[in-house]
Symmetry: C2
Amino acid sequence: MPTTITHLSVRDIRFPTSRSLDGSDAMNTAPDYSATYVVLHTDAPSALEGHGLTFTIGRGNEVCVAAVNSLASFVVGRTLEEISGDIGAFWHSITGDSQLRWLGPDKGVMHLATAAIVNAVWDLWAKSEGKPVWKLLADMSPEELVRCLDFRFVTDALTPEEALAILRRNARGKAAREQEMLEQGYPGYTTSAGWLGYSEEKMRRLAREGVAEGWTHFKQKVGGNIEEDMRRAAILREEIGWDRKLMMDANQVWEVDEAIVNMRRLAAFEPWWIEEPTNPDDILGHATIRERIAPIGMATGEHCHNRVMFKQLLQAKAIDFCQVDAARLGGLNEVLVVLLMAAKFGVPVCPHAGGVGLCEYVQNIALFDYIAVSASLENRVLEYVDHLHEHFLDPVVIRKGRYMPPQRPGYSIEMHAATLKEFEFPNGPAWA
Amino acid sequence: MPTTITHLSVRDIRFPTSRSLDGSDAMNTAPDYSATYVVLHTDAPSALEGHGLTFTIGRGNEVCVAAVNSLASFVVGRTLEEISGDIGAFWHSITGDSQLRWLGPDKGVMHLATAAIVNAVWDLWAKSEGKPVWKLLADMSPEELVRCLDFRFVTDALTPEEALAILRRNARGKAAREQEMLEQGYPGYTTSAGWLGYSEEKMRRLAREGVAEGWTHFKQKVGGNIEEDMRRAAILREEIGWDRKLMMDANQVWEVDEAIVNMRRLAAFEPWWIEEPTNPDDILGHATIRERIAPIGMATGEHCHNRVMFKQLLQAKAIDFCQVDAARLGGLNEVLVVLLMAAKFGVPVCPHAGGVGLCEYVQNIALFDYIAVSASLENRVLEYVDHLHEHFLDPVVIRKGRYMPPQRPGYSIEMHAATLKEFEFPNGPAWA
């Protein structure tokens, strides 16, 4: 019996994080971490559902909700078997509508909404197979995987044949790497100490706790006052020492020239990378900054809106770390294209996480990347932020600074019913 | 007495153009030209209103309407005097909200919606001054103009001082160029013959009429079947001869390598430019194609979503013609920044038009560009498409292939009340 997607529901879920300045940085001064939360309902006797969300930071989440409703017709009424039988074609259809693509293409609100739906489809598929998403992917043959992808507009950087070759080359060691991940987990790093809105004492305490918990990589928000950035970096180095890695994140606030000047000062604290030093669309700007501040690594991607932009970041030698986001790109299909391009160009993928649900999502991506695509952990760490995990049925499990692979079927993104009720905007109890 | 913007209304207006394949091209196969139509209502005794629209091609226009509603609070309750007194700061506020910018920044649905509101503000301001927008701009001093602009993220390409220098250099000849425009108009080109969905006979007839009307530049849509593109180019050359210019427009359908191969074949018809040969985000791809198909010029911009992308198209030497769009960018403020960057890099601006209302908008931009910024008509032509002008109070006036400057106060974008009623989606008579 095929499973039909009978309807889609979408909710505007917001958490009042701005009240405690969790997640505050130089650009995003007071975010209310939010989710455009999608459920695909089916006629399966088991009440099988697909859940997916796109992450926003508050105001405007209602526009993503409207966009999801405008895209619903691409899934409702279709069967899971029809979609999973050629999920590449499905992705092409939902992103390729000749009228809707005018609103992008592949960017902004429509693409964020696409991510929520596409990821819900993957959640549905993985649940129907009884596997977490990383395992569903890892169990595919190279040929099956390549059929999931849309290479349109990136064939000058990666052909389907090249993608196949990468996957085939690493097919042999897959089982061993999977076992290694199940036993040891995937290396993470923590951003929890470094928020710009936190007092210096709070930062110092959190850094100390992080060291005690076994973290080896710490990220600091910069881009406020440069003297203050320096002072906070000094505090962090005092707490974490010089053997652990310190990363910095400017969240897009600097001009190109300003980024160079400021990073040359912050170089004294030996940052491993600078993340989002300037506008996320500025591929050439990132390339220029990278060249001028070497050996500090360049990291970006959480606002890189599609595979064409990542292609250019790689072609222009603009990045040392590829920070793919699970819901900024148009869902998992497009993420997979980026993983393969990064592998071809030899750039490590360190997914963006935090927010709400992003850690849950990207552990699947990082695990699959290691098991089947890059086959390397060198210079790879997965972001961790310790907020809002209690709202998920299958929250991330961290052990000594490493992500332990999720076991429950799906994309680990399903929220508790009580959370959805409590935090629905604007009428849930948390907002009323 | 200051004028307060008391409320904003927004309507979903759609024209069923897909029924006749007007506007059909290789990517946009069956567009329903649409407008997210904004009115700013005021308490002025004269019932002064500001009108603005953003152009879409049908489905999804309702998402832009939702986005306008989410942005309304940036104008409602403010006075015109407060906004026009520092319209640069106003633009910064409406594009810089720390939560909303997560949905972009400066791209997709939110930026399209921003354009409708920002352009409505300019319409309101120009009406209050009793001038068309081009004249409002042309009468500003260099200092006043630069104060309208937001240079954030482009200072590595254009500083306020450089912008001032450009404007001051050309301040002297302004009156003479304005007079020249009033007498002779701004040179245009026609796309009306070249739609992909038109039969060869219809194309031939329209080309012949175009020649008789005095047009010297014709644009053909390409990117379907290459043999058919060749045949249609041959027909157009038969009709327009080899002294008139022929431009080609692929509307983003080709891969980078495919564009090079196809344009080398189409080179036999001596195209003056190829427009949108591939994905609009692919700055490096455009640069590569341009280098490989010289001397055919490279044109793009209607889908170039912000000033940071235009900056890079200029820095990468990717374009010969800058096809700025009046509503893809975040309204007139951002357009002005692009005009000044293009002037600095010596690249002619040939705005994108057509759709609904874009010709009405961009005549203001091209006139101002000539009078105050570029001071040149060399390699500059303004797109003209002969659809839907009857819906505007102040439709464009074309004389022998040239745009005659609008005289009525405002941005020439106000539609007839009867049109707004007839074409409102989904309940207007045209759709019911």
